[in-house]
Symmetry: D2
Subunit: 358 residues, 4 copies
């Protein structure tokens, strides 16, 4: 279970940062679906290190090899196994991590849970694992796309630099035009300047990603324990460095009154809709047909190039300064991961609904 995500559309991932490969298995994928392999690679390229000056300069081509479940370009209903080979393996770079617990990393907790840890580049705790999620998500996204469902994430805050516009005012086609993946050019520029400064100081910075899902039909999700928002929260909090999630009116509106944020139903353009959408497209755990939108809070990455004090594995105080190539701000590379996880949640729930809608 811990490495498998989903109910009937399932992704199992495996692989460590500096092992032979990261990979995964997609099980429960609809059969007879013609895959667009370019789209899958494109999503991987969005997550890839070294895309711009603000992301880590580690080199990984991140080419996915599919091993099964596809025949003459189409899914067969059999599990889709795939691997992405690790190319940038230089275990010696990590020799210095062997005997200490890095601050705010998973070194200590892995050691406590498993009694052993692959210290090379964080091993399984490395965000490199998410490369497999992007593959699973890119498959889900294509299938959703045929049903006209679109999933778009973007960076809305870096440090104190905020994009103060409703997502409806934004031109999503601009997201990929800049290195930070913020659809507002002026804000993007400020964010990039901020990150540059942070990077030069050997430090890191947090921020917020927003995600908008359009054209989900009403009726998708679950009413009690695995409400659609709960599944999305689980998906998002399962991404490294994520510290918070809210949807619809979220945290910002806890100060509001019911009379201010209730979404009144109206019949417009021949369909049931709501005048406002504080609900974020979900009511009682189930989609109501309006846009689903949510925010994900990222902390600054734990890896900074400044000297820090910590403990050795035998519990002595030691100094530590991270080496190598790291992201001062993970947000732009996290955008495709957020979309991938969202896509898998959505498709999984759509399939469950199909089971009962015949």
């Amino acid at each position: 279970m811990p490495n498998t995500f989903g109910k009937i559309f399932k992704l199992t991932t495996f692989g460590e940062s500096h092992g032979a490969a990261v990979g995964g298995v997609v099980d429960g994928c609809p059969s007879n679906f013609k895959l667009d392999f370019n789209l899958i690679q494109k999503e991987l390229d969005r997550r890839k290190p070294g895309q711009s000056s603000i992301t880590t300069q580690r080199k990984e081509t991140d080419k996915v090899e599919f091993l099964s479940g596809i025949f003459e370009g189409k899914t067969t209903g059999a599990p889709i196994g795939f691997i992405i080979k690790n190319e940038n393996q230089n275990p010696k770079d990590y020799e210095n991590l062997k005997n200490l617990f890095r601050p705010s990393h998973a070194d200590y907790t892995y050691q406590k849970k498993f009694g052993i840890r692959d210290y090379r580049g964080g091993g399984r705790s490395s965000a490199r694992e998410t490369v497999a999620r992007v593959v699973g998500g890119a498959i889900a996204k294509q299938i959703l796309s045929k049903q006209n469902i679109s999933i778009t994430a973007f960076v809305s805050q870096v440090g104190e630099i905020k994009l103060n516009k409703c997502y409806k005012e934004l031109d999503f086609s601009k997201i990929e035009k800049n290195a930070i993946r913020c659809p507002d050019e002026a804000t993007a520029k400020k964010m990039l300047e901020k990150i540059d400064k942070i990077k030069n100081a050997g430090d890191s910075i947090g921020g917020i990603i927003k995600c908008v899902i359009k054209n989900v039909p009403a009726g998708i999700g679950e009413p009690v324990f695995y409400k659609l928002q709960a599944q999305l929260a689980n998906a998002m909090l399962g991404i490294n460095a994520v510290k918070g999630f809210d949807y619809g009116s979220g945290f910002e509106n806890v100060e509001k009154k019911g009379s201010e944020i209730n979404d009144l139903f109206v019949f417009k353009n021949n369909k049931v809709t709501t005048l406002t959408n504080y609900s974020g497209g979900i009511q009682g755990g189930i989609s109501n047909g309006e846009d689903i939108y949510f925010r994900i809070a990222f902390k600054p990455t734990a890896t900074i190039l400044k000297p820090q004090k910590t403990l050795s594995t035998n519990e002595k105080a030691v100094g530590f300064t991270a080496q190598g190539k790291h992201d001062p701000c993970v947000l732009p590379r996290a955008v495709p991961i957020v979309e991938a996880m969202s896509a898998m949640v959505l498709l999984d729930n759509l399939l469950i609904n199909n089971a009962y809608s015949k």
Copy 2:
């Protein structure tokens, strides 16, 4: 799955607001554990309607009847079936809900998902369902308590009234001393005044609950998809009216730099600990032995006593004014629910760890 929570300590719930009973089945409970039935009932009483002037005056005694899985006061390892009879059933009160979709309620989405809905008091979407969660949680809490793990939730914000203190400065023994379950008396008083005003206006108000879990050993949780924080987020977002979740430094610190929020390891009092706890007791999805703490954002309840416009089930514009007894602010009654869900997550993960620690 949709009505079952947990991996090996599992709670399945059933029941609607105005059916015969709400109930549940706890499966995977450790055997040979002597239950304190008074503690279970005490938790139910904390959730019960009619506790104070600020909660709904609906009358439910909420007495739980255990039907199985317990022999001579001890758990047997067999599933623990239980029911809480619904006493306050007056379906006529709800005849007016039959033909319309209440704003920001689950009426419309249930109709779309299931093609039918039990409109009496919201049916399955009623928060009455959580009475069964409190039973499951009260069992889990007792078992955790034997391992010295404590779970404490309290109200930290109502509307704009905030409790501006770190949880470490608070006296948790005061939480139950007031109707709002805020451990700071002065703040509690302001919150209650606020709610009183809101209630008199026939409106409702949102707020924030904080939860603190102490003495969780290091090593509990999962590293990838079901990180401990992701499981907690899923649990919390599965509670009615919850709109957001964050843990540790959460949303408030996305503006911080890595150098400001990294938690440095130190060896103190003969154990590994961290100088600060921005991580909220979880690193890499796994507990590190520090306090686990998180916030849950609640929206104002959708039920208000003011007239609202909405649609009938045949899509005509209609007016609607809620009748009956409702909570102007759900937070005090949600406190035991937050604790119950947290307890089940923790126990489930502790058991999973046991599986591997022999």
Copy 3:
């Protein structure tokens, strides 16, 4: 998990032989389905003790009370909670079981697994638990019936008395005409005489149940780990006293050659069919549209009225003679249980197929 059966149509059961009630929760049931409650009760009556002179004379009315998930006679998609109260509770009858382990019963193994056991009437290990399965199965059966799928089980062997006819030669309408549920009158008579003799000797006898499922469309099941036959085997071996399972040509044909038992495809009556059906309607784990049929071997019940030697709970040799009312042959009462479990497996797999067939 251990008390929940199914993937998306799920039954969770609870309850012991001499507790307050046995019950269950059906989750994932198709919504908006009009239930025939008489049919459900009729299935319970088929399983009920005291139906005839050859079954135990324990008195249980076995009336099911539905507590949730049903509104105005229709399923709502919410979990269907139900209980069957235990009426024949006389714990004193079982005082003699407290301090010993009955031969070939679950007393010893429960004690070893759970460290405690409810010794009254076998507690959770009693076949009384199956009353909840019959409710779940009776719901599944109705839904399957609308798709024209029929499930029929009957007794084909008691001790050495065998029904030596292919199921196609039998008149299934005669199954319910005799107390042993064998559709061949002459054989039924011999079986009943056999059981009568066994009963008078205070002994018990084993036998075989056959089950035939008709009109399952081709394409249902899973190709690898949970092949349709594997799911059926799991379902059947989960019934008390079952020792074996085979389907299609089964054990009887291990001596055959491939050229003798391959089922050749032909096109007949405008559909793909097979000339023979040694495959038992399943190929590669998936239904092929032919009749599915299988056999289930039952051992003689462990409870006999003859004196036996065993151990006390403190491991001393003691004598033991069972008291009370017991079945000399469980097979007639197991017939509806076999059908119930089969129905749940089939419906669950049909729903999974629906998920992908839209």
Copy 4:
């Protein structure tokens, strides 16, 4: 789910007969366990084609490559991803399968379920998939072995040639001494002669494998739906060509009386044991500490070299004669698969028990 086996020790497999590779992911493996890679390869070699004149002469080296979850020879608790490359790929060999449904194969049912099929060598329905199960099982077996649990399968019947001895009279060290894996030399010789004759006739033959598991502690398994025998049955019926399963006294003893097959408890050699073991080491779904033993019935493989009549994919009658290299009797190669599946079931249940035994 369909391609994942187990509850907390989980194996997910992927791969087709003629794709790039077959592989799998073991999740939930105990960490810090030193793996013996030679033992894993040895198990693969037992399953490998071309071991002897009676198995298919297809050439596969079946070398497993581990990609993750292992560090310095030890399991890390992270998922163990692995692949076995397919070397014997000559898709042209299978061009003749493209347009027809082979009798008693999965061609037709896959087409009906998935709407597409990889016809090359049976694709996912090929027994080649079991190579991944042997890897998972070989890991489980090593861990069980440290707890002194041994799992031994052997061929006990081929066609009408039966090994008429109780397993206790057999010398298991002789199993690997002959090509049929029957521990009795005289019987093995007859079986081999039989298979030779069958092979020369271009036909195939069925048989029975017995499996014996020793030193399982009392208390392992589940009491209701997933009884230990039900899990084993599910595991065995999930192997290609398996048609039946029984355990302990099984089918052979349905003619017996309770007084003949009840296993009386005695205290001997300082432990609770039973005088006889008709129960096959399991009572009430839970191990009682005695040997667990069961039988698995295999049909003759569907692939025979004789001409057969069947249908084309467009439902016309066509003739078909299989080409290439095939097993006239799958049993010797199925022996390690039976052991692998059994090992995974046992370990999974032992881990679950650990969860509750602390």
